[in-house]
Symmetry: C2
Subunit: 160 residues, 2 copies
């Protein structure tokens, strides 16, 4: 898995591929990728950063896809619970998933200057954390890993 998000890439293609993947996954699993849900995924993909629910809601509102908070939260819940997007707890915001379909334990690199978010792979089994949990008798179901720091683009600016 690559860490994208800080590198240039063919954005339009990246969005189209992700949407197509989501459609496939949904029809394969009997899920409904309704217009609002698909549009929210598209919004997240097109920005390639973490977005708040209300920020998304405003876009939906302008497009006539809904005007009240539950509209955004429902779509986001759907996307998150089926692995098409993730919530970044540190930011109370949401990002599109980089590799939907694969069973994943994502980790995020969050730039504290520009707010960009890169998704990367979590530590597999996470030796120490997993061991500690096992020793304590704790069963891990989900892990949130979020690193805050400086992205390559902002490192220079911050030095000033």
């Amino acid at each position: 898995m690559d860490t994208i998000g800080f590198a240039k890439h063919d954005h339009a293609a990246c969005i189209q591929t992700a949407i197509a993947t989501a459609r496939d996954q949904c029809s394969a699993n009997g899920l409904q990728l309704t217009p609002a849900r698909e549009r929210v995924l598209e919004i997240l993909l097109s920005e390639h950063r973490a977005m708040g629910a209300y920020e998304i809601l405003e876009i939906l509102r302008n497009e006539g896809l809904g005007s009240q908070p539950p509209v955004a939260y429902r779509a986001l819940d759907f996307l998150v619970s089926h692995g098409f997007a993730h919530k970044v707890e540190k930011l109370n915001a949401f990002v599109a998933c980089n590799h939907p379909g694969q069973d994943h334990a994502p980790a995020f690199l969050i730039c504290r200057i520009c707010g960009s978010v890169a998704e990367t792979a979590a530590v597999p089994k996470d030796s120490l954390l997993g061991d500690t949990a096992r020793a304590a008798g704790f069963v891990i179901e989900k892990v949130v890993i979020e690193a805050e720091g400086l992205c390559p683009n902002c490192r220079g600016k911050a030095a000033a």
Copy 2:
């Protein structure tokens, strides 16, 4: 470092030691552990679980130590920024630190049934996450690691 939080221990002593440590640290570093701040730390220690800012505020209010949100948030900010407590992002809540003074990268085990929170040591720097970040040119400053699952006490109940 031990994972405490799921095991029985001498609670009164545990609180007193932690408060004493905090006092020492503060006087050694020219920080003011004011009544409100100390009381908030004590509250967090006595509950040994993650508590919301408003939950803490209500206790302070009953004790005449303050009635408005900023009172709680300021005390919590102080405790967090000086390492006496941590914020659990996943819960939007706060816990007392298990080993203040030591420079730490904490990780949390959060039980999704009973809400108890155990603090443990984070993965060492040579983890996969560190490598990935370095490769991407990202400088990590802080890491949030929060695992959700079942604590030993709740494992049996959840099986039902």
